[in-house]
Symmetry: C2
């Protein structure tokens, strides 16, 4: 087990009807910026619940944050924070809204010349952000309980992540009933995202991290069990709640203590979103089976454990068991409606060349201990062509 430091101060408020607690969680004298997306919260009733709970507060609304939130959009909100003395931001939405809000909250206090440096140059010594909190409407990214975000800049076809050590939400309200209003595609994207987050922290080096291994497997088993139920009409409250909890637990640090982490699938996937516009979840469903196949020697021990414990594969031959586990993973993604090959989206060798060139130019060897070199990235993408 590696040495590690863990801390996660976010207060989680989970369950049906909990949005009404908002007024007990935010001081009455705060000037609130409420951030949200394209208006789905007005259709599913969440907007109204939030507004009722915050009656009497001074609220400025900022809507229109897009999926894969864009730098140019977010900088408009940064201006509002500065000019209107905003001292609390409430994100109402999914991972994109929350990631965007984290960036707004940090950038509004950032003293460097160019706020893009927070992402492109991974600026150190980020400021303490404006206090912010979330009402989650889409289980997937765990942004509601971590300090990271991913921001896009469409004018440069770039997509980068950042972490602000002081940038955890003060609280997050998770009401599983919001899942009932989600379109099938968002649910399946969420499932793939959570599954991939978990694999990124699990399918790495064998370090005898028994608790974390079991906990990661617990999330994967829960997703496999709940996925078919979630994609039928009107899933039960319990299925929605289990789904929502796997999302938050998948990337809040609870399963990453003392383990090596991978993240190659995400890094490669971000490029596919930036260059080709695929949804984040769509990119992961393609790339992850490719990473498993190409990196199977380096990941042998964990792949075998994954085969045995998650897929209950008893085939004695280890390589065959791993083949079967990779195939079942791809089939799982397909079973929830995801394509798993680049060619199904019309993506070909030119995009692969661009990604490999970008990784080479940036000097990026990704994955645990940098084992996924640009050349391995090429093999991975060719494998899932």
């Amino acid at each position: 087990m590696n040495n590690f430091v863990f801390q996660n101060p976010t207060k989680l408020i989970f369950g049906k009807g909990e949005i009404k607690r908002l007024s007990k969680l935010i001081d009455k004298d705060k000037k609130i910026l409420m951030t949200y997306g394209g208006g789905s919260i007005k259709r599913n009733g969440v907007y109204e619940q939030v507004m009722q709970a915050l009656e009497g507060y001074d609220i400025v609304e900022f809507s229109g944050i897009e999926a894969n939130p864009d730098y140019s959009t977010l900088m408009k909100a940064v201006d509002i924070c500065k000019t209107q003395n905003i001292d609390f931001i409430l994100a109402v939405g999914g991972g994109s809204i929350i990631d965007g809000t984290k960036f707004i909250a940090t950038a509004a206090k950032f003293e460097g010349e160019d706020a893009w440096d927070i992402l492109r140059k991974k600026a150190k010594n980020l400021p303490i952000p404006i206090d912010f909190a979330t009402v989650l409407t889409l289980p997937a990214t765990a942004s509601e309980m971590n300090n990271g975000g991913v921001i896009s800049r469409r004018d440069r076809c770039e997509k980068f992540s950042f972490h602000n050590p002081a940038g955890f939400p003060k609280f997050s309200i998770l009401d599983p009933t919001v899942v009932l209003s989600l379109p099938e595609k968002q649910i399946s994207n969420g499932i793939v995202d959570i599954y991939a987050h978990t694999l990124e922290q699990y399918l790495t080096t064998c370090l005898d991290t028994k608790v974390m291994d079991r906990w990661a497997e617990g999330l994967l088993l829960t997703l496999i069990e709940e996925a078919p139920k979630l994609l039928k009409p009107n899933p039960s409250y319990e299925s929605c709640a289990n789904f929502m909890l796997t999302a938050t637990m998948g990337l809040n640090g609870f399963i990453s203590m003392g383990v090596d982490e991978d993240w190659a699938t995400h890094m490669i996937g971000h490029e596919l979103t930036a260059l080709c516009g695929l949804d984040h979840g769509e990119t992961l469903a393609i790339v992850h089976p490719g990473v498993m196949s190409v990196m199977r020697k380096e990941k042998h021990g964990k792949l075998l454990q994954y085969a045995r414990r998650v897929w209950n594969i008893t085939i004695e031959n280890e390589e065959q068991a791993i083949d079967e586990a990779i195939e079942r993973t791809e089939n799982f993604f397909r079973s929830i409606g995801k394509k798993t090959r680049l060619s199904e989206y019309g993506i070909g060798n030119d995009v692969i060349d661009t990604i490999v060139q970008r990784f080479t130019d940036r000097g990026w060897a990704v994955g645990e201990h940098g084992i996924v070199t640009p050349e391995k990235t090429r093999l991975i993408l060719e494998k899932v062509l």
Copy 2:
């Protein structure tokens, strides 16, 4: 799944050699009270590591906190805090030292007339305690990452718990190498304590809490796997690290989200400590199999799941499978050197009568939803006579 609120702000610093970080974690201008026990930290080198790391700090030492920390001892430290303007307390020890320190930190700021009210009357509106942190030397109670404590008052043969919502350690340093210096009895007590904590949050109502169920099972499976290795001479660093992590994760709120909790075994066990002087872990090894047997109808679903998933029992008949699981639990405790019957300690019906009378006088029905009435408590204790 029940609605729930979760928050745990403690910073965890885990791994070999991490005690040296202390000076980066405590401000130089703090006046520190360092609390510890009977001196084992001087024999195992932890005292020296702490003193080296804190060279130049203004430190007042308070030693002699006993196992099952006593009110009269702790009140002496409360006096020191008040008269010497202590503004940081560093607990160096196991659960008793840390529980005692939590009480000291809270009682020093408590404005009520009698600090025992914090425990006996479960006083509400507890004050923000003096900042405190821990260097853990004995994995067991998870006190290093929660806001609760258990304090004894020997002059009244009483033992009560308390929780201060603001009473989490600021940080806890967990160096698994300390396990190597522990006597076998403390290790086995720790294993039983962690196992019991986990069962208290797991063997309750079936609420389709899939993630928490898997995580609790993960802790139990890890303990079953590591226990025999830990009780051999010179266990590996990995075994010590896994043991230490199960302890902290067993009672820091991470496995209690949305589940019903029991705690009957602990409540009954506390009486056995208060009345007969048994170690905490010794009481749990006796009482838990009794609770499982007597409450088997109410706990049927979870007991069966426990049999199938933790003990891998495939016997088709459900009652037989549960019998087998209870027997294996008792055998597990015996395999690590614990007695599992009251009579083995010379405890008889008079003590049972006293405990039942106390529970009746206090109006205590314990367990999830109060299902363990005083009469059930009698049956449980008679079962393990």
